[in-house]
């Protein structure tokens, strides 16, 4: 092996490594705090100084999934002989469970709207991207830019006419409305990213297929799609993460039936006062899938966040 002037020295590597590890630890602290707070009891969560060592409890998770009320003799009449474990936890604080909370519904809304909008954005985005990549489309550059420009507008500004439009169409606070809206917003990302992925597939494959007697559609379906599968899959995850995280539209255009988790989690509140362990529990359940996806995506991350402008 010959000596390379560009290879950093061992000392440089050590220094760089230590600094980056320090940064990583600092940047992880809030995330670790979210996860651990979810397993704290209420008093532990607001203890001073902040508690690093504590007895873990699932109280926060029980609070997250239930609606509770303070036990008052006038109301609690029927004896509950067989108390399940979660009721026992709640009773210890002098409360009783009156029913499930809305969290699981909101989480489920996030799943439905996230996957629904991702599906449509990918289907439409893939076909459009293929056409942009392979055909001579009039005004192609303008159209591509136009598609991108939809992402530059502040969501609040976009939401004003959408609110009116949805109201007239009865789409406010519906799954269909939110899927439609997120599909539109995600389309720009899907078209740009997938366009880039398809551009990278050598056109010769298709030409060969066409010569073999495939129709154009078959060539698209049987040759291009499999080749672009990884790219499309990572694009889909990006779309999903966007829909999953989106807040502004959700808070303005949904109020209950179709409300997703991001506007809901900050409004989780205890029997009296802010219930931080429950909020942290909800945040943990909500953030973990994205963390996993991020790790899966790491090879395509750069491309996804820059609309395909930067590729490794």
């Amino acid at each position: 092996m010959s000596f390379s002037v560009t290879e950093p020295s061992k000392r440089q590597k050590w220094f760089a490594g230590i600094v980056v590890v320090c940064y990583t630890l600092i940047t992880l602290m809030p995330l670790v705090w979210i996860i651990t707070t979810g397993f704290k009891s209420s008093p532990d969560s607001i203890a001073y100084p902040p508690k690093v060592v504590f007895t873990p409890t699932v109280e926060g998770y029980v609070n997250l999934f239930t609606t509770q009320t303070r036990m008052s003799p006038g109301v609690i009449t029927e004896p509950r002989d067989h108390l399940p474990w979660y009721e026992q936890i709640v009773r210890k604080k002098g409360n009783t469970i009156v029913g499930p909370s809305r969290f699981s519904e909101r989480f489920f809304n996030s799943v439905i709207i996230g996957f629904g909008s991702t599906f449509f954005a990918i289907v439409l985005g893939t076909t459009a991207a293929y056409a942009f990549s392979r055909f001579r489309v009039p005004l192609k550059d303008d159209l591509l830019f136009f598609i991108l420009s939809t992402r530059m507008m502040p969501p609040i500004a976009v939401a004003i006419p959408i609110f009116l439009m949805f109201r007239n169409l009865g789409l406010n606070d519906t799954h269909a409305g939110m899927i439609l809206l997120y599909t539109t917003v995600n389309l720009s990302l899907a078209v740009w990213l997938i366009n880039g992925f398809i551009d990278e597939i050598p056109i010769e494959y298709e030409e060969a297929a066409l010569i073999d007697g495939y129709t154009r559609f078959q060539a698209f379906y049987k040759v291009v799609l499999p080749q672009a599968a990884t790219g499309i899959a990572s694009t889909a995850i990006f779309c999903l993460i966007f829909a999953w995280n989106e807040y502004a539209f959700a808070v303005l255009l949904t109020s209950g039936t179709a409300q997703t988790a991001p506007p809901f989690i900050p409004t989780i509140i205890g029997v009296a006062g802010q219930d931080w362990p429950a909020v942290a529990a909800g945040a943990t359940l909500f953030l973990l899938p994205v963390m996993v996806f991020t790790i899966i995506l790491r090879r395509h991350l750069l491309r996804g966040i820059t609309f395909g402008a930067v590729r490794k």
Binding site: I46, T67, R70, S72, G94, T96, N172, G256, T267, I269
Partner: protein
């Protein structure tokens, strides 16, 4: 969808029992929307009787106070069908009536023999009427509420503190009678060491985002002589909103904030004030009366350790900010009949009595005038005294447009310390005049 959601929560292994709710013949799924707070959870429990009697199924949509108005007015303005029943805030009534969000209740009341004269007058005016002072009803008073104060009786009773206070102020350390006295007490406790912990004077409303600081500052403004408009000439603001008395009231609130509140209490509303009081941080707490049942049963500050008093008088009068809500039927609901059934059930005296026992402030005279009422809870008398002196914010259809500038003008002065009280209120007059001009009222 609904089914799968329930299955989902059941899958989490928690509520297998609640999934199987057998529907009866014409059973409806009613959704009631309210703020997420103690009384709402009590109502869930109370409503189980209604479910059993009527066969209807109740679900609830509760939103915390800081987001409540935002979310629900958005829902109403979008013509949404989420809520069949709405326990909407008192100030919404004008807009909800004029824009047809709520259905009018007069016929229903007549038919069912529900008489508004049976309810506390202030709540009827505050929660049900639009235009105010006319017998046009859009809601049934559901939850009486008013700003009052909670104090640490156990601290007040300590002989050494009493002696020190007596020496310093020349009077006994007791629940304050005037706003000035309140400030003295708060100042007395501010920064004091009690049981090895530093404590502070008072927890007061300072929240910026929704209505918090307005609901707090009005308790000082009213009592120094602030008026919303010329009593003789509606919508004339100059010299009433920004009168020298009003300026003094606003200055008082800022002084109270500056001298006697816990550090970092710059964006506090109901829940933050509760937390501060329950954790033993403060001697006094401003809050709506709804918290009192919770304070009384709290392991740290309940069981006689806390006392209650109405908002103290000021040089210009004796008032307290009205809270509380009426229950209405949303005009966009497809299940109005079932929703009215719920109101009919709720209006029954027995149910109202149970409501009070569960921690809900009934507005029914029969409940509050019961001889045993005042002594039924340590805070019952204070509640009655407070309800007698209530005053509310604008309930105009343009209420939100009036509230927002008040929030920012007051917060800018009291919390951020920008400008003077006079400038803040002059600015408010300008903002409000603009709103009324836009509304074509001026």
């Amino acid at each position: 969808m609904k089914k799968s959601v329930l299955a989902f929560s059941a899958g989490l292994g928690m509520f297998t029992a609640s999934v199987v709710a057998a529907p009866t013949a014409n059973a409806e799924d009613l959704t009631l929307c309210w703020a997420a707070w103690d009384p709402a959870n009590a109502l869930v429990e109370l409503s189980k009787d209604f479910e059993a009697q009527s066969g209807h199924n109740m679900s609830f949509e509760f939103v915390p106070w800081p987001n409540f108005a935002d979310r629900m007015l958005n829902e109403l303005n979008s013509g949404g069908k989420l809520c069949d029943l709405m326990i909407g805030d008192s100030q919404w009534i004008g807009g909800a009536a004029e824009n047809g969000h709520y259905i009018k209740m007069n016929d229903f009341f007549e038919q069912e023999g529900i008489d508004m004269a049976d309810f506390i007058p202030a709540t009827v005016t505050g929660y049900a009427e639009w235009p105010k002072g006319t017998p046009n009803y859009w809601a049934l008073p559901a939850f009486g509420d008013v700003v009052g104060w909670t104090y640490r009786k156990d601290w007040f009773e300590r002989p050494e503190l009493q002696a020190e206070f007596q020496e310093k102020y020349g009077r006994a350390l007791d629940a304050p009678q005037t706003l000035e006295e309140l400030k003295d007490v708060a100042e007395f406790f501010q920064g004091r060491e009690i049981d090895g912990k530093t404590v502070y004077g008072a927890a007061i409303y300072t929240e910026r985002g929704s209505e918090g600081i307005t609901m707090g500052v009005t308790n000082a403004l009213y009592n120094y002589g602030f008026l919303y408009e010329n009593p003789e000439k509606p919508y004339e603001l100059e010299g009433f909103v920004n009168s020298p008395e009003a300026v003094a009231g606003l200055e008082y609130y800022k002084e109270l904030y500056d001298c006697c509140t816990p550090p970092g209490s710059s964006d506090w509303y109901m829940s933050e004030c509760i937390d501060a009081f329950k954790s033993g941080q403060v001697a006094l707490q401003m809050n709506f009366a709804f918290i009192w049942p919770g304070v009384e049963s709290d392991p740290n500050v309940g069981g006689g350790k806390s006392g209650y008093f109405p908002n103290p008088a000021g040089p210009g009068g004796h008032f307290a900010q009205l809270g509380g809500q009426g229950i209405s039927v949303v005009a966009y609901s497809d299940k109005q009949d079932a929703a009215l059934e719920y109101i009919k059930w709720f209006a029954q005296p027995e149910v109202q009595k149970k409501w009070w026992e569960a921690g809900g402030y009934s507005a029914l005279n029969a409940v509050v005038e019961d001889p045993g009422f005042a002594s039924s809870q340590p805070y019952a008398q204070t509640f009655l005294d407070s309800m007698a002196i209530v005053k509310d914010f604008w309930a105009e259809p343009a209420y939100a447009s009036l509230l927002l500038p008040m929030q920012s003008r007051i917060h800018n002065y009291v919390i951020a310390g920008q400008g003077t009280a006079q400038e803040a209120l002059d600015g408010l007059v300008k903002d409000w005049n603009e709103v009324f001009e836009d509304e074509g009222l001026k």
